[in-house]
Symmetry: C2
Subunit: 438 residues, 2 copies
Amino acid sequence: MLVTDLIRRKRDGAELQRNEIEFLIDGYTRDSIPDYQMSAWLMAVLLRGMTRAELAALTEAMLNSGEVLSFPELPATKVDKHSTGGVGDKTSLVIAPIVAAAGLYVPMISGRGLGHTGGTLDKLESIPGFNVNLSVTDFRRVLAQCGAGLIGQTQEIAPADKKIYALRDVTGTVESPYLICASIMSKKLAEGIDALVLDVKTGSGAFMKAEKDAVFLAELMVETGQRLGKRIAALITDMDQPLGNAVGNALEVAECIDILNGKGPEDLRELCLILSAWMFLLGKRVQNTDQGRELAEQMISSGKAREKFREMIRLQGGDANVMDNPGLLPQAKQKADVKSPVSGFVTGFMTEQIGTAGVLLGGGRAKKEDSVDPAVGIIIHKKIGNPVSADEALCTVHYNSAQRFDQAAPLIQQSYRIESAPLLQKRPLVHQIIGDSK
Amino acid sequence: MLVTDLIRRKRDGAELQRNEIEFLIDGYTRDSIPDYQMSAWLMAVLLRGMTRAELAALTEAMLNSGEVLSFPELPATKVDKHSTGGVGDKTSLVIAPIVAAAGLYVPMISGRGLGHTGGTLDKLESIPGFNVNLSVTDFRRVLAQCGAGLIGQTQEIAPADKKIYALRDVTGTVESPYLICASIMSKKLAEGIDALVLDVKTGSGAFMKAEKDAVFLAELMVETGQRLGKRIAALITDMDQPLGNAVGNALEVAECIDILNGKGPEDLRELCLILSAWMFLLGKRVQNTDQGRELAEQMISSGKAREKFREMIRLQGGDANVMDNPGLLPQAKQKADVKSPVSGFVTGFMTEQIGTAGVLLGGGRAKKEDSVDPAVGIIIHKKIGNPVSADEALCTVHYNSAQRFDQAAPLIQQSYRIESAPLLQKRPLVHQIIGDSK
C-alpha cells in the first residue's frame, strides 16, 4: 500500500477502505509515515470530506491506537457526557455526581481549557488537593467506590489522536468537522462507556458559531457512535451567552456547589437536569426523559448528588470541606465591578470575548503551556433579557493583577449589547436533539 | 507572519499577497518552515487553485530562491523552448542548432527522462564524451562561442523548486497545473532568457492527455511569463503518437542528425520548423512565422544548423564524428521486429505504453535513481494512417536483454490500434497557439 496513492485518492474525492485508513493511522502512530504525508492527507480530508464509513474507520483506528478501557467489574451501565466547550460551561461537575448518585457509572476523561473555553480539569484543580492525574488502577478504584471519576487523558489513550491533533494545530487542519469528530469520539469511546450524551454548543461563545455547523458535527458524531455500537444522542444547546453566572475556575466550582445545594442560576440548573435526564435514558435507568429529569431533580433535592460530589472530591484527594465552606476555594485579592455605560436591556453578548477576558485575567490559557490562576474570573449579574441602568454593575471581576484587570474590563464591557428594548424572542436553551433513545 | 494563517487562508480560498508567498518560499528553502506545513499548503493550492497574481509571485519567489543567470555580454536575444514532454520528443537537439545558426542565443537547461517520457540530457549523453554538467563559467563560454549550450539543472538554480518538487512527489501534490507552471517557469526564467516558446503536448503520450488541461496549463504559463516580463507563446502540439520514428536515446540522436541533414521523418521535421519559427519571431529575428519558417529551412538546407550541432558537440566534449558516422553512437546487440497480428490501418496508439516499453528495455527510468541504457529503443515503421498487413513489421526493437525484449514486445504490439479502415480525419500537429507575438 502506497501512502502517496492514499493521499491522491482522498485528494480526488474517492472513498478509502477501512484497511487503508488503518494503515495510515497505524503507520503514523508508529512513526513510519512522516508528518509531511499525514498533513497533506489531513488537508485533503478537510477540503474533500469523508464518507460516514470512512469516518467510523478513522475514529476506530484512532481509538485502537492505544489503550481502550473496559470495566467488566462494574455492575451497571457506564455513561458519559461530552461538551464541545463554551464560556461558563461547567455541567460536568454537576452531572457526574447526579448520575452516579442514581446508580450509573460515569468514567469521565476530560480536557483542559484552551483559548476562550474553560476545561473541566482546570476547574477541578481549583479544589485544594484534587488530583486529576490518577493511574488507570486508581481511576478504576474510585469508579468502583463512588460511581464517578474525573481524570485527564493519559499517555496510553488514543496516542494517534494526540499526535494528529498536534499536527493539525500547526497545519491549518483543525477546523474539519470530520477530524474534530474523530478526535472527540476516539477519546470518549476509549473510556469503555455504553452510552454517550453530546452537548454541542452553538452561538457566539461556541467553536461552532453557526447552528448548521453544530448540527452537522453532531450528526457526524451520533452516526459514528452508532456505527461503533454505542447508544448516543446529541443536544444542540445555546452558547450565545455564558452558561450560569460564574466564569473562572474556583468561581465555577462554587456555582456548581450551589446547584447541588438546590440553588444557583436557572439556566445552568436546567441544562444539568436535561443532560442528566438524557444520560439516564441512554443508560437505560429510565424509560423517557421526563422520568430522567424527575430522577435528576430527586438526586439534588435529596442531597444525594451533593454527597456524591463530596465523596468524589475526597476519593481524588481533594478537600471536601469546600462543599460546606466554598471560601476554602482560592480567592482573588481584588474585586471590582464593570458597569453599564447606558440604561436599557441586555440583548446579547460577544460571548467569546468574555472567555478571552477570563484568559487575560489569568484564568485561562492562550497557549497550551500557560498556567492558570484558579482564583480569578467574572461573576455576571446581568444576562440577556435583564434591564440595566446606566452605571449599574454588569458583573464583578475577581482579579489578582490591576494591569490584567485594566486589559480585561473594557473587553467585558464591550462584549455586552445593550439596547432600549428587550429581545422579543428568547433563544431556547436546547435548540435541537439529534439521535434517538434506541 | 504565521505559517498556519497562510495555510488556512489558502485552504479557505483566499488570495495570498506577494510578500506572504515570498515568506513561505524563502522560509521553506532556508529550512525554517518544515515539510509538514509546506505539504499542507501545497495540498490546499492543489485543491483551491491560485490567482494569476499569486502564481506569478510563487514563480518569482522560486526563481529568486537561487542563482538567476544573465548574459549581458551576449550581443543578441536569448531564447529557449520548453516541452512538457512526450514519447520520441527530441526537438531540442534540432532546434537549438537551427536557432543558434541564425544568430540568436539558446541557453538551454534541460532535464532527464522519468517514467514514459524521455529527457534531453539522456539523449545528449548517448553521444560519446558529451558533458551536460558544465559549470556556469563553461556554459557561458560555450554559449559565447557557438550560440547554444545544453546543460542540466545546477544546484544553484531554483533550489526552492528542487525541494518543493521532491516534497510534491511524496505527498500527492504533483498534478496541480499551478504547481507545474511554477516549477517549469521558475527554472526556465532562471536561464536569463528574453523569450520562451512552450511546446505543450496533448494526447495519449502526454502528461496532459486532455486538450483542455494542456490549454489551461499553457495559459497559466504564458500569463506567468508575461507578468514576469518575457515574450512568450505556447503551442499545443500533438502527442497522440510518438514524434518521429525513433524512441530511445542514441536512436533519437541519429534521427536528429537525419533531420539536420535534410532527411528524417516529416512530422518531426515539421514541428522543429514551426517551433524554430516561433523562437525566431519571439526573438525578434523575423517579422512573422512564415519568415521564421523560411529561415529555419535555410539553416537546414545550407548545412549551417548541422555544422552548429557539430560545434556544440565538440565544445561540450562530445565526439563530433557521430555527425558523419552515426554508427559511432552506442548500438544495441540485438534487433527484432514486432509484427502486426492483423491487416488494416493504424488508427491510434496508446503512446504512453510505447514510452513504458522503452523504460522496460532499459532506455528510461522508472525511478529517478535508475541508470539508462543509451543504445536500446524502438524504430517505428508504421504510424497513424499507414496500411499494414498481417505479420508485417510494425517496428524494430533494439535491445540488449532478451528478457527485457520479452517484457516490452507485447506492450508495443498492444499499444497499436489497427482497424479495417483508416481514420477519416488526421489530428493536426499543432492544435492551438496561445499567447502572441508582441
